[in-house]
């Protein structure tokens, strides 16, 4: 499917999403709460070795990490320029740990497994009136329609190209939205026609 998760399965793919999310949450919290250099070094080491131990291919890893890496580098330079080496080290350690672990999680976990894990995490919201089944259904609907709307956007840009308007945001967004709203009416009817009575 259309997702960031790598299709080549590694041992990390087989670790349940809930466990990976918990590790990320604990490591992410620890790295921001501690100033202890030894603990920080341990966490950084863990974050850098995990993608290596899972033999993740470098190219997709770099693609996800690069924008954050540029920002982290800029922040390090900024702190060093002000002579604040402490902050430079802390920022570099904290952000690279969180980003690397998060990207590793994303590259090795199917979106459907993540959605299921989130549904379980959000289940207590049932008591404030949010239905997990409806939330899950809405997420599935969005997953179904993202590629459809990508295709429609492509079609509209193609059509506007003839008029030299394919870079005009309004000339593309306006027809896109009108088609989307019509589609929403049809889709609501189609869901009702198939005996959905979730409301």
């Amino acid at each position: 499917m259309f997702e960031i998760c790598l299709s080549r399965v590694t041992w990390l793919h087989r670790v349940p999403a809930g466990i990976k999310l918990s590790v990320l949450a604990v490591a992410g919290a620890a790295v921001f709460l501690t100033d202890d250099r030894r603990v920080l070094a341990g966490l950084v080491g863990f974050a850098f070795s995990l993608p290596l131990l899972a033999w993740l291919p470098l190219r997709p890893l770099a693609r996800q990490v690069l924008p954050a890496a540029v920002l982290i580098a800029a922040l390090v330079v900024f702190h060093l320029a002000l002579g604040d080496a402490d902050s430079a080290v802390l920022v570099a350690a904290r952000l690279s740990t969180v980003i690397l672990l998060a990207v590793t999680l994303t590259l090795t976990t199917r979106a459907s497994a993540m959605v299921e894990a989130m549904e379980r995490i959000l289940a207590p919201l049932r008591f404030v009136g949010v239905s997990p089944a409806k939330a899950g259904f809405t997420l599935s609907l969005a997953i179904r329609f993202i590629p459809v709307l990508f295709a429609i956007t492509g079609e509209i840009r193609e059509a506007q190209k003839v008029r030299g308007l394919e870079r005009s945001v309004v000339a593309v967004a306006l027809p896109l939205l009108v088609r989307t709203l019509r589609m929403a009416d049809d889709l609501s009817e189609a869901i009702a026609a198939r005996a959905y009575d979730g409301d």
Binding site: M1, F2, S140, L141, I143, R144, P147, V148, A151, M183, D186, L187, E189, A190, I191, A192, A193, R194, A195, Y196, D197
Partner: protein, 230 residues
Amino acid sequence: MIELNGVSVRFGDLTALYPVSLSLAERRVAVVGSNGSGKSTFARLLNGLVVPSTGEVRVDGLSTARDARAVRRKVGFVFQNPDNQIVYPLVEEDIAFGLKNLKLPKAEIAARVDAVLTRYGMEALRTRPAHLLSGGQKQMLAISAVLVMEPDYVVFDEPTTLLDLRNKRRVARAIAGLPQTAVVVSHDLEFLADFERVLVFDAGRLVCDGPPATAIPFYRDLMAAEADGV
């Protein structure tokens, strides 16, 4: 049997359908008319997607307004554009959607999904994402997803309009093979030739109701006259 008694439909101050009374007992009923003629509104009345402003629609005695839920289970509906009615990302999930709404046990859902995929030669597409299917495959998925619910009646709203010739034939064949009563809104006059009854709508009125031998020539003449009139 589907019965309409003095049914009209108004949307605000626009009359989409003037009063019509009829009963449908034939196995194959076609509905034709130009855009805006009221034929889509007529089709939507049959399973309660549109409720009448006056009069009543009854399906096997059930009112579409009062027993909406029961009527939707009896009358399946296939829309023109499959992209607006495929709800789930994967083929098998989408086919199972209606069955889950009927609260069927898991084993039965799986068995029915298998049966419909086999019947329409789509076993290989089972775990494919719906957005990667061809136009014809998408329409067959949309049709399967409705038929798997085993409705007693199926309404098709222009099921072949967006398809190429080969896929039009495939869909026409699938409709011809249905054991159920089918009501088909269409512009494809060729494919309606062996239907039992044809209803012609024009400007919100039912203007002709008869076998294809009389209704289709009537419709052709009507379209020709309107084209000349403009």
